[in-house]
């Protein structure tokens, strides 16, 4: 074995990365660098996901998202899921162009699982957040053509025993939020509500109510965001990430909380 050969074993720190593996063996499966000029305003018509949010509470982080995908002024899909389990202790909420976002969430899940299996232990939360930032950066050329992917990443830090929330910009910039964040076309409206209603150390029920109110407000103000659909029985997705893992808040619980909020609003201007 020559020096280069055995030294390469040490140089290859990304041995456990699925994305690097794809790049080496199957580059056609990676998001392609889109050819052509940057977007001149004529956005390609692709479905877009709209409002996702994450709130810290006593046990960790709660994530919620509406269920609507929008294509221009049309509703593309009524039941889309925007909050995905990334691994046992973290989740990703997708906002932006639905196709690339979902693909990135899937790639990110595989990336974390691959690392965990190859290395025998999971990445740190910080490591996961950075890895996602690098993947968003890979999407920059497509983002410049209108296919923006800007997820929220939230997870539970086992050592410190707290939930943490990260937001991103299209260049892969990574910013940590200490309390809450909402992203997407209705993100601004949801953030306004969260700003007023957020308290430190909320219980799960309080956090659920705050998060749903934020989604409701976003749905009222933003045409891209879907509210609870009482006729079809479609409610926002809500997930929790705590010490005991990534969990789902069942539809019945979400329905009850939504109905309570809507009842409060009845008769209001």
């Amino acid at each position: 074995m020559t020096d280069e050969q055995w030294q390469a074993v040490f140089a290859n720190y990304s041995n456990a990365s699925f994305v690097e593996l794809l790049r080496a063996t199957s580059p056609h499966l990676l998001p392609a660098l889109a050819p052509g000029a940057p977007d001149e305003g004529g956005h390609p018509t692709a479905p877009h996901g709209t409002t996702v949010l994450a709130v810290r509470y006593r046990d960790g982080v709660l994530m919620a998202g509406d269920r609507q995908a929008t294509e221009g002024f049309q509703i593309a899909h009524r039941r889309i899921e925007k909050i995905y389990k990334a691994d046992d202790l973290s989740g990703i909420g997708i906002a932006g162009a639905a196709g690339p976002s979902m693909e990135m969430a899937r790639l990110f899940q595989t990336e974390l699982e691959h690392y965990e299996k190859v290395e025998g232990e999971g990445l740190s939360l910080e490591g996961k957040a950075n890895r996602l930032a690098q993947m968003i950066r890979m999407n920059l050329p497509a983002a410049l053509q209108g296919l923006v992917v800007v997820p929220i990443f939230a997870g539970f830090e086992e050592k410190a025993g707290v939930g943490r929330i990260f937001k991103y910009d299209i260049t892969g910039g990574r910013y940590e939020e200490t309390e809450y964040f909402a992203q997407g076309s209705g993100g601004k409206d949801a953030r306004d509500t969260l700003k007023k209603r957020y308290k430190k150390d909320m219980s799960k029920a309080e956090a659920l109510s705050v998060a749903l109110e934020a989604v409701l407000d976003a749905a009222e103000e933003d045409i891209g965001t879907g509210g609870p659909d009482l006729v079809r029985g479609i409610f926002p997705t809500v997930k929790t990430i705590t010490r005991s893992g990534f969990g789902e808040v069942p539809d019945d619980e979400v329905r009850t909380a939504c109905e309570a909020l809507l009842a409060e609003r009845r008769g209001q201007p």
């Binding site: 041995n15 699925f18 593996l21 794809l22 063996t25 199957s26 499966l29 899937r106 790639l107 595989t110 699982e113 691959h114 299996k117 190859v118 025998g120």
Partner: protein
Amino acid sequence: MPLPYYVSPEQMMKDKAEYARKGIARGKSIVAIEYRDGALLVAENPSTLLHKISEIYDRIAFAGVGKYNEFENLRVAGVRHADLKGYSYSRGDVTGKALANAYSQALGNIFTQDIKPFEVEVLVVEVAEADGSKNEIFRILYDGTIEDERNYAAMGGQADEIRRFLKDNYREGLSLEEALQLGVRALMVTQNKALTERDLEVAVLDRAKERRRFRRIPPEALSQLLEGSK
């Protein structure tokens, strides 16, 4: 110019096989046993950091005996194969059979083409869905020979004796506790010291779990299971 030595191909293969078998026989053994809710893997392995049993994919586990760096390379190659396939098709399309075939090809090529064969044997275990289909256990030898096993499998140092023991004592529908007890007794057949939870590495493919079925059994839980079976 000196003449190269002539060695008949037959002799060369014999020598390589003997070399590989000797290497494997020095190592400790591993057993795989099917039980009611999945498949159990038990290895004699005093190290808690260097694993012999690992997760490959949702329903697939890997176990290797022999030279650590060699089966570790095979394991990582298996994880890559499975993740690539699952990502480009779907999670359900990743099968133990395809993986076992890949191992068989790789080990077969190495055995015939390289000067030094791999001194390893590997097991690929795939637990069936809860729809009544069968679990699959593949044993792949150092020369690429592949065998599919039923109910139980053993490999490593004194695998033949262990297999004989399992053949006499295995029955269908074992509970996890019973299967573990059987596995530990099987590993003790070839030695006179008792094995405790500190000498064992145990993992299961648990059919009741969602998605990723592989689960290691930590020493505390293991000692409880072993206690309970006495």
